[in-house]
Subunit: 169 residues, 2 copies
DNA sequence: TACTAAATTTTTAAGCTTGAAATATCTTTC
DNA sequence: GAAAGATATTTCAAGCTTAAAAATTTAGTA
């Protein structure tokens, strides 16, 4: 296929998708910066700190550092600094893992749990307010559409993948 | 309204919106990290650098530093470092603004234009591939829904705002 | 046992990001 | 024209982020 044919073929869809990408970026940046600002002014914390505490609140028994970075989908080294600061603040503690002196189990302290509860309640409200213009039905539709983007083997059709799953497992 | 009534009233919608927010975050993070990785391995550059060059390519006459940070919606001080490095690489140049010795006009060099063209062509393709699962119609619907989020006076109904516009302008 | 490979975490270097403070330069006002 | 205020940019401190290297410990194997 030559350049011209390629351009004709790709342009309409590719342009719509590029616009969608820029819109997604604009929207999440907007929400994110509002949440960051709220967390800073209301609770003197940051989004990464909130994310770490949120993950730990969903795992009351704690997580190893590598599990934590896996859950949060951020690099290993990244979590170290954030946890360090949360430990300094008394919201998080590191305990040794019996039988493995390499690993640490990271968990919320009672104080950290209380603080996170406080933050989470307001956080839900912030998100609710920021997305007021979107109905439940719209939300469901958008989420369904976006599933294809983060699907494991992207750039393939969902139906094809589903049929493959049966054969390859 | 007491706490219980509040909870009953808010929970269903608020939960759907919270899930949507997490989905939006997951999706953009996914796309963003792919693009970052591609830019790094293919062009040895970063997303912020690409964004700056993209903005400058849309403004061939250049932009003042404050205009640039305004267009990109990032802080003033942030742009300084990114432009510094692009200047070091010869992709961007600063020219004095006649009549205002405080300001600089920042613009792409010929080399910078050529480099950005090279990057932009592939970038469109990357985004197209990442969003393959989404049709033009889906994209339009999603973009329309998301308009309400970043609308100037959010947390208000669109129809209300439209009626207000007529009166207040 | 000694050697090698794998796993877990931290450290490091480079860059991005923000808000606030500092500089330098206009512009307005008295 | 000098003081006061506004504007444009940079500098700074703190924190986030990644990839890669280093340090430590565990597990497997000859």
């Amino acid at each position: 296929m030559n350049d011209l044919a390629k351009a004709i073929d790709e342009t309409p869809m590719a342009k719509a998708r590029l616009r969608l990408w820029l819109k997604l970026l604009k929207t999440t940046n907007h929400i994110e910066s509002r949440l960051r600002e709220n967390l800073r002014t209301e609770f003197d914390t940051t989004l990464p700190r909130f994310d770490v505490m949120s993950a730990l609140s969903r795992h009351r028994d704690g997580l190893k550092m590598s599990q934590l970075s896996g859950v949060l989908k951020v690099s290993n080294g990244n979590v170290t600094g954030i946890v360090d600061r949360l430990v300094d603040d008394g919201f998080v503690a590191r305990s040794p893992v019996p039988g493995d002196r390499r690993a640490w189990r990271v968990h919320l302290t009672p104080n950290g749990m209380a603080e996170f509860e406080r933050q989470a309640i307001v956080h839900v409200r912030w998100v609710d307010d920021l997305l007021t213009g979107i109905s439940s039905d719209d939300a469901e539709k958008i989420m369904a559409d976006l599933d294809s983007v983060t699907a494991p083997a992207s750039s393939f059709d969902g139906a094809v993948n589903k049929s493959l799953e049966k054969e390859t497992t």
